[in-house]
């Protein structure tokens, strides 16, 4: 319900901003060279070091502490988790710009994580745990420098995500399976995009796609 309300607010801001825009001004023309009003934009984004809710609160697979003297022995104590490999965040997004300084849209993103589980006594890998996150995040973007070639902006987005977790043993047999929902969010503190129709961008951000991201985009 919260997500629906937030999405509606983001869309309403877009409509309000659109109403304030001046249709007759050339300032819309991001690509003066081509003489077109480039209100639409698609982007392909790659992010590094994605963060999820778990990273901010309690991680399910919290490493046990050997110095805790009063802890009972749990079945999980017989195993340890190896290095966590994260694919990075990949997203395809669409943005609509009703006016020069404001855009609204959504991205569909993917992040994969892999971790091997080892038996402590032999150190042998006994299973592999994978988590695949698919997320849809409505986003609003505020552009504060808008030149034909260079733009500076910030953005914020919050949405809904689906996580599929599977643990398979070395023979491929499914040991654990869980599907869950989560709340992905993304805040871009500073982004810079360079180019006209075809452009590249780099962003400093924090959220489900990563702590810094970059990619290419196309305006039409």
């Amino acid at each position: 319900m919260k997500r629906t309300i937030l999405t509606a607010i983001a869309l309403l801001i877009g409509v309000a901003a659109s109403a304030q825009s001046d249709k007759y001004r050339n300032s819309f023309d991001f690509s003066l060279k081509n003489g077109t009003n480039n209100k639409h934009e698609v982007r392909l984004t790659v992010g590094s070091a994605p963060l999820f809710e778990d990273d901010f609160f309690v991680y399910d697979y919290f490493e046990p502490n050997i110095t805790e003297h009063h802890e009972m022995i749990h079945p999980n104590d017989l195993y340890y988790r190896g290095a966590l490999k994260t694919s990075g965040g990949y997203a395809l997004s669409y943005m609509y710009s009703p006016c020069r300084w404001f855009s609204v849209g959504m991205y569909a993103g993917y992040v994969g994580q892999w971790q091997k589980i080892h038996l402590r006594s032999t150190q042998a890998a006994v299973s592999t745990s994978t988590e695949r996150h698919l997320m849809f995040v409505p986003t609003v973007r505020f552009t504060y420098l808008n030149r034909p070639m260079v733009r500076l902006y910030s953005s914020i987005g919050i949405g809904v995500g689906f996580c599929r977790e599977r643990t398979r043993n070395v023979d491929g047999r499914l040991e654990f399976s869980e599907n869950s929902r989560f709340c992905p969010a993304e805040v871009t503190f500073l982004g810079v995009s360079v180019g006209r129709r075809l452009f590249g961008f780099a962003e400093l951000n924090v959220g489900s796609l990563g702590c810094c991201s970059a990619g290419i985009g196309y305006k039409f």
Binding site: V46, G47, S48, A49, E63, P64, I66, E68, H69, H70, E71, M72, I73, H74, P75, D77, L78, Y80, R81, G82, A83, L84, K85, T86, S87, G88, G89, Y90, Q115, H118, R120, S121, Q123, M149, V194, G195, L198, F199, G200, A202, G210, C212, S213, A214, G215, I216
Partner: protein, 266 residues
């Protein structure tokens, strides 16, 4: 053209660095052995702590007013002793912790004290399900046999230790036993199958375990226990299988010198 190259370069750099590998857990193969030892030594610690209380109560009960003030200042800063019809009560942090029941001096051979541990008093984060009765029996000069059978929410424990008390330490009863102790005997800890896991830890002391907290307070790399050797077995009481290979745990004054020897099973 230059701009396109720049854009491609940035995107390629981010794409290549987007995959991250973060460090895994400590792969310590002795992890379960250390945990089993921690649980076993915790049982030892509880018994010598209770015995310390009993010795202090006994000493306090036989002292005059001036001496009692000295005992209170040195060892009972946040603890109060209260005399009742059946014995002495120990109040810690405003809660009734223990009741000692016994009419004969604790140091008299053959003397048996009963200790009622209040179930509302949480000892070492493990809550007792009901009031529990433990016994302390004097078996010789400065030597006691402590028997305990307790039911906690997370586990049950059966303990029988022979404990010899040594020198008085500069410590507060609230946080530590106040004598040096040498402990022999055995204990078993059976975990709650539903709340934790169906594991049982059996510990037998092979070489006397020595408690000397002086080292602990003078050097934080050290342990409170300086000597001793235990034989520990951890079994799954449902399947009957070992949870970890049985092992001997040799205590050393420095943590780095602790030795774990796994036993070969035919």
């Amino acid at each position: 053209m230059t701009m396109k190259r720049f854009i491609c370069l940035i995107v390629a750099l981010i794409a290549l660095s987007s995959c991250t590998v973060s460090e895994g857990w400590d792969p310590n193969p002795d992890y379960v052995a250390h945990k089993a030892y921690n649980l076993a030594i915790n049982e030892v610690h509880q018994q010598i702590h209770i015995l310390s209380y009993a010795q202090t109560v006994d000493y306090y009960s036989r002292s005059g007013d001036g001496e009692r003030e000295t005992i209170e200042d040195q060892h009972l800063l946040n603890t109060r002793l209260r005399q009742t019809d059946e014995g002495w009560e120990v109040v810690r942090g405003g809660k009734l912790a223990f009741t000692f029941i016994g009419n004969t001096p604790l140091g008299e051979v053959g003397s048996v004290w009963s200790v009622k541990v209040n179930h509302n008093f949480y000892t070492y984060n493990a809550s007792l399900t009901t009031n529990q009765y433990w016994t302390i029996e004097c078996t010789g000069e400065n030597r006691w046999k402590v028997r305990q059978s307790a039911i906690y929410e997370s586990h049950t424990s059966e303990v029988e230790f022979d404990i010899v008390a040594g020198d008085l330490l500069e410590a507060q009863l609230e946080s530590s036993p106040i004598y040096k102790y040498t402990v022999e005997g055995e204990c078993s800890i059976t975990q709650n199958e539903k709340l934790v896991a169906p594991y049982r830890i059996d510990m037998k002391i092979m070489e006397p375990v020595v408690f000397d907290n002086y080292n602990y307070y003078s050097n934080y790399k050290s342990t409170t226990y300086t000597e001793g050797k235990m034989s520990i077995r951890v079994t799954d009481f449902v399947t009957g299988e070992w949870v970890t290979t049985p092992f001997h745990y040799t205590i050393a004054p420095e943590r780095s010198n602790i030795k774990i020897e796994y036993l070969l099973i035919n």
